[in-house]
């Protein structure tokens, strides 16, 4: 006979904002809850009520439930309870906490994606304040940061987080698993306003197409209102060689990232600070992404205590053509955002170029000149991109043209 005891979640002296549920189904005796909690006197009753409600939702009337709570928020308690129930009674039913209305928003295709913060999908304590640190995107990760035997409970937790946690306008991204697990992930999370799916270890266009089709099918059947964008992550030599094929495989791809830990492992070399070993891969990805009209995104910088190193890394990354980077700690966000943003000097120069271009166009002139210098069209295009970026970052105010004068001829 299979074990009739299920365990979900985490407890222990270092665990915060999580809980562990140990569930045993019984023949009789009703629901008996044994709760240990630091917030017992303030939330004991509501924790018990929530657990009871979920058990009854799944038709369980007799069970003993041990809840070891370390200050878990309701969406976490609900996820852990549901996960425990489903270990014993597999079911397609989902116990969905309320959808916080402010969490329903679309994003635009070309939004800035300088910094996106990775959040391990089975660690609720890191999710709660994740949206406060200014990253353009948050990634709820179901892939490498979740242990294989915790994939099911993480999926439920991530789903609940998408419904309940306010990410304060950040682009809501999920990194799904590969293969069949990934399909399960999509089914569970897509209905909860995911803006972008990260496709890990992407090697060819076929993988993207499969996921794209899966997303279209789910979106159609559930009549989902918002578009779901894609960001493939290239993490091995095959992927690098197929970079352009991947980049052009779907119109829903908005950015393409590189994962250097796996890539260097695939080459059988060490990842170094200088990064000579990955120079080809990085520039290849950048070129392919740009050719396809996508944002090229750099790999994470893994030494979270080395802010100077990160700064240098971002500076080089930007000079190569990358337009963003993953973060594994909130303190990296500021450095990364500052590093990819245009500096004042660039903005000033770009303002002049764009103004000269506008003036030439108004006068019907065929050539643009700044002072006595001719300006080529690509220079104008780059300046316009810098201005657009400065506007979207709030570094320039709309109507800036009126307050800027061209130098005397």
């Amino acid at each position: 006979m299979e074990s009739s005891i299920a365990k979900a979640g985490n407890s222990g002296p270092k665990i915060r904002s999580d809980c562990e549920i140990i569930l045993e189904l019984k023949e009789s005796g009703g629901i008996v809850i044994d709760l240990t909690s630091r917030v017992e006197s303030l939330y004991g009753e509501s924790i018990r009520d929530l657990a009871t409600e979920i058990l009854s939702f799944y038709g369980i009337n007799n069970a003993s439930v041990r809840i070891i709570d370390s200050g878990a928020l309701p969406f976490v308690i609900a996820a852990r309870t549901e996960a425990a129930v489903k270990q014993l009674l597999p079911s397609d039913l989902e116990y969905l906490p309320d959808f916080y209305e402010r969490n329903r928003y679309p994003v635009i295709r070309d939004r800035v994606r300088f910094a996106r913060l990775y959040l391990p999908g089975n660690n609720p304590s890191l999710m709660i304040n994740a949206g406060l640190h200014g990253a353009e995107g948050i990634i709820l990760d179901l892939e490498d940061s979740v242990a294989p035997d915790r994939k099911d409970e993480a999926r439920i937790l991530v789903r609940n987080a998408l419904r309940q946690v306010d990410f304060y306008g950040a682009e809501r991204m999920v990194r799904i698993n590969q293969g069949e697990l990934g399909q399960k992930d999509l089914k569970a999370i897509l209905p909860h306003n995911v803006n972008l799916i990260l496709i890990p270890k992407c090697e060819n266009a076929g993988q993207v197409n499969n996921i794209d089709l899966e997303i279209q099918a789910i979106s159609r059947s559930l009549n989902l209102p918002e578009k779901v964008y894609l960001m493939p992550i290239i993490e091995n030599a095959v992927g690098v060689e197929n970079a352009y094929e991947i980049a052009t495989s779907s119109k829903n791809i908005v950015a393409m990232a590189i994962g250097l830990e796996d890539y260097t492992a695939d080459l059988g070399v060490q990842r170094t600070r200088e990064g000579k070993e990955s120079f080809y891969a990085r520039t290849r990805i950048i070129s392919a992404a740009k050719a396809a009209g996508l944002q090229p995104i750099d790999s994470v910088f893994s030494d979270v205590s080395d802010m100077e190193g990160l700064k240098a890394n971002v500076s080089e990354s930007r000079s190569l053509g990358f337009e963003g980077m993953g973060c594994i700690h909130p303190r990296q966000i500021k450095v990364i955002r500052q590093g990819y943003a245009p500096d004042e000097n660039e903005i000033e120069k770009s303002k002049k170029v764009v103004l000269a271009f506008n003036e030439a166009r108004e006068k019907g002139l065929g050539v643009v000149a700044l002072g006595s210098k001719m300006i080529d069209p690509p220079v104008v295009a780059r300046a316009q991109r810098t201005i657009d970026l400065a506007l979207s970052l709030g570094m320039l105010k709309p109507g800036w043209e009126k307050n800027t004068t061209l130098p005397e001829e």
Binding site: S41, L73, N129, L132, H133
Partner: protein, 517 residues
């Protein structure tokens, strides 16, 4: 059993009799004006003391006997040895062995090392504590196990209570890192150096009897003296007055939590954009990780602009010392040193000046240092939608902290509380504080990771930051956000029994703590 009670000016029901003595209920900030003269201790005669100035006696027990230790007396100690204190507990161990009962312990603060005091509360040696009760001691009080009713006072309120004669100290037992045989003593030198002895002044000046306990006896004069030998009855030399590594933390450190750092950044941005931060400011910040981060960020900003703080009021830390040493602060006025760098600085730097709370915080002083401070960074366990603050109980109703200087510091020009919106699911901003320690009219700004709430009374600050881009919210909005995330907490259920009274800085009763059901 409830004593006769009244609803005070803050709307809290408080007793009129406390531990058998009549008490005044809170009337409003600055309203209570007792007349008459300050209390004075008995008049000594210098002929009664050894001509050679040697007041050393054989043991603490002998000193206590000579002081006439007997039932019902009030014994005071200071907390400069913090969690490394070996003297306070010893006094009551001796009293217990001597069979003395119903003492009142009047410490300037207590620490986890004082949990042992529970033994002497249990065996009847101590009737009650008038001072701070942390952790297990607080829990003991909340559960109604203490015989008398606890009285919580601020550091300044403690001096006020002594000067008003509300607390008459029979014997002050004052641990001193260095002392001479005449009783002059200071906080530096010897194996148990704690930097300064800022909290001992009222005790030695007003106690009927004063015992100095040291493990570092030096030749007369022990200079510069923070305790003056002319007030001291006996000197006791022991092997050890404290455990050095527990007296000061080796080093205080700024928080590593990204969420706390975010609060510190927001606080610094607020200080800047509101114009509060300027050249020549006066400031005080605590030793908590977030406060220290704010000190570091403020330091960077001062440096960048070539500004200077005129003075920082301690508790001093290495971060304040860095400001002093790198030229961004003219003076540290210090009541206590929190880490080894601060102790070292107090010993060697002329501009790091001991400054007793006796002067800085006292209601009966002719002016206070705190009201002259531009920036005051404080904490709280709870703040309510009327900006009232609580520092002594948690939302579950347990007494877990002392007031410290918190109430006194509320009189600064800009009182800023950087706080997380919730801690482990427990909202910090609530409808009504569990225990009222400070009236909302004195609390100016609450800074959380999810937004800044300015007290509507501070129209000037609201005006100055309205276009700053800072995340301004009303306190109600912050409260609602906390409740949306955490759920609305149940309120603790209390009995009618009063286990502790919270005094305002003027000695009136602002609130009480009741026994938990």
């Amino acid at each position: 059993m409830t004593a006769k009670s009244v609803v005070n000016a803050a709307g809290r029901e408080v007793p009129l009799i406390l531990n058998g003595q009549p008490v005044v209920s809170f009337k409003g900030v600055g309203k209570h004006r007792p007349g008459g003269n300050k209390y004075g201790p008995p008049v000594p005669v210098s002929y009664d003391y050894p001509e050679d100035g040697n007041k050393v006696v054989g043991s603490l027990e002998e000193a206590l006997r000579k002081c006439g230790l007997s039932d019902g007396m009030t014994i005071s100690t200071h907390h400069h040895l913090r969690d490394g204190d070996l003297v306070s507990n010893k006094v009551f161990e001796l009293a217990s062995a001597m069979g003395v009962k119903d003492l009142v312990w009047f410490p300037s603060a207590s620490f986890p090392c004082n949990d042992e005091i529970i033994t002497y509360l249990d065996d009847g040696t101590i009737n009650r504590i008038e001072g701070s009760m942390n952790g297990p001691l607080g829990r003991y009080v909340s559960e109604g196990k203490m015989k008398g009713t606890a009285v919580l006072r601020s550091h300044g309120g403690r001096v006020q209570a002594i000067q008003d004669g509300e607390v008459k100290i029979d014997i002050a037992v004052l641990a001193a890192p260095s002392a001479d045989a005449f009783g002059n003593a200071k906080g530096t030198g010897g194996p148990s150096s704690c930097g300064v002895l800022g909290y001992a002044r009222a005790d030695y000046m007003y106690a009927s009897r004063v015992i100095v306990v040291t493990d570092n006896i030096v030749d007369f004069p022990c200079f510069p003296m923070e305790i003056e030998g002319n007030y001291v009855d006996y000197v006791v030399v022991v092997d050890k007055i404290g455990i050095p590594e527990k007296i000061v933390s080796g080093t205080t450190r700024i928080t590593k939590s990204p969420d706390r750092l975010l609060i510190a950044e927001l606080t610094t941005a607020f200080l800047d954009k509101s114009g509060i931060l300027k050249d020549g400011i006066t400031m005080q910040a605590g030793a908590g990780g977030t406060s220290l981060a704010i000190a570091v960020f403020v330091h960077e900003m001062l440096k960048e602009r070539k500004w200077k703080a005129r003075l920082g009021f301690g508790g001093s830390t290495r971060y304040m010392v860095q400001m002093l040493e790198e030229g961004q602060m003219d003076y540290i006025l210090d009541a206590q040193a929190f880490d080894l760098d601060a102790v070292a600085s107090a010993e060697k730097n002329r501009n790091h000046i001991p400054y007793p709370v006796f002067n800085a915080y006292n209601y009966h002083s002719k002016g206070n240092l705190t009201s002259m401070m531009d920036i005051m960074i404080l904490g709280a366990t709870e703040v309510d939608v009327n900006f009232n603050g609580n520092v002594v109980t948690h939302s579950d109703g347990y007494l877990l902290h002392g007031i410290g200087g918190w109430q006194n510091c509320l009189h600064a020009r800009n009182v800023i509380l950087p706080l997380p919106l919730f801690r482990d699911r427990i909202p910090v901003i609530v409808d009504e504080v569990t225990t009222l320690c400070g009236p909302g009219e004195l609390i100016d700004v609450i800074i959380t990771e999810r937004g800044i709430a300015i007290n509507p009374r501070r129209k000037d600050l609201l005006e100055r930051v309205k276009d700053s881009g800072l995340p301004l919210k009303t306190i109600e909005e912050l409260k609602e956000e906390a409740e949306r995330i955490c759920g609305k907490p149940s309120r603790p259920v209390f009995t009618d029994d009063i286990v502790a009274a919270v005094k305002w800085v003027d000695g009136t009763v602002i609130d009480v703590i009741r026994r938990l059901k």
